[in-house]
Symmetry: C2
Subunit: 196 residues, 2 copies
DNA sequence: ATATTTTTATAGTCATTACTACAAAAGTCC
DNA sequence: GGACTTTTGTAGTAATGACTATAAAAATAT
């Protein structure tokens, strides 16, 4: 029995767009933007292509919605982790640890959906993912700069590199313990670079 | 005027397979396996599809030849860098530095072709790239294990993570100086983890 | 010269892609 | 109940993907 959502007059939708975005998110995260066809999504939702295009415009439009959802529900909570009352190196270490945990949490949706999305061959999808990644990197850089302006660039580059590497390793099937060990070694370097 | 290579009797080839592999390597390295179509390759070579299929079997067959060529001419010379007469941390640092230099050497073919190839959506291409990557990682692990058996796994994981991250950053357009700075910070962690 | 061999160019096949025209269906509003 | 609105299902389109059947071309062997 399908739940019908009313949008005023007219024939009611047979699907909930929010749920559709959630389903699409699983597919895009699991397989990547390029590897997921519109047919994959419509099949998973049990709807026909026109319904999806009416709701989201096109494949990239759906992906944009998915990225927003990911960013507000599955992303690493940088705002909470980057604390002004704790050592910078310690907070960055917690970001890396949290990254390892997120990326290995579910083996079918391993890695970071945004970081993986920046490698798409579709320009629209790639740009959308790159924008989110740039925003996250800016946030880290600003945080480091507020306390260690000289080191902000290189430390941020290093953290971003580790996160990209962790996402890759997670998609390669590396288990949580090994990802955490990698994050630990990286955190030693951060402590040394920022003074502990 | 085209150079014709004789292969015994029969109509001569209009193209040199070695040169074809070199041209295909540029394309695959620049755009990735999935984004390069067979038509892209045949257009670049000025030949027709049947000629390419006669010489290489299929797209994945051509890619296998390209990977071999890359591995024997463009790869990081691990065998020379991993020296038994130098501190392990120092040698691994030189591997990371060399990686940074290789990945940023040419902006149109940035990053590591093997590491990027492991992300292909084509199973054959991905498996071929993964095999080479696994071999390189084994070489590093064996080297570390010969001197620091307890640390071999985590240190190798860390080095592999940094290399994957550096390749990503290089493809993102990061310049050589910043890649080298990242490699430097990572090397500090290696020195600490392995005892300097 | 003629037969044989190998590669070529032409012109396709077939599957899959993102996306859509159109009319029937299924509601709401008066 | 009838006009109106919105979504649905059917059945496409056009482009592009990897790959190939076929016969002519261009060489060598005898």
């Amino acid at each position: 029995m399908t739940i019908k959502i009313s949008r005023g007059r007219g024939r009611p939708r047979r699907f909930d767009p929010e749920q559709a975005v959630a389903t699409a998110q699983r597919l895009f995260h699991a397989q990547g933007y390029d590897a997921v066809s519109v047919a994959d999504v419509t099949d998973a939702l049990g709807i026909n292509p026109p319904s999806l295009y009416a709701a989201f415009g096109n494949k990239a439009g759906l992906y944009a919605r998915v990225l927003n959802r990911y960013n507000s529900t599955n992303a690493i909570p940088l705002r909470d982790l980057l604390r002004p009352d704790r050592p910078v190196a310690e907070c960055l270490a917690s970001v890396l640890e949290e990254a390892a945990r997120h990326y290995a949490a579910d083996p079918v949706t391993s890695g970071c959906m945004v970081l993986e999305g920046t490698r798409s061959n579709d320009a629209d999808a790639r740009d959308a993912a790159c924008a989110l990644q740039a925003a996250a990197e800016s946030m880290i850089r600003n945080y480091v700069a507020s306390r260690h302006p000289e080191e902000a660039e290189r430390v941020t580059d290093f953290v971003a590199t580790i996160m990209a590497g962790l996402s890759t390793k997670a998609r390669n099937g590396q288990d949580l313990d090994r990802l955490l060990a990698i994050a630990d070694i990286a955190s030693m370097a951060l402590a040394e670079a920022l003074g502990d």
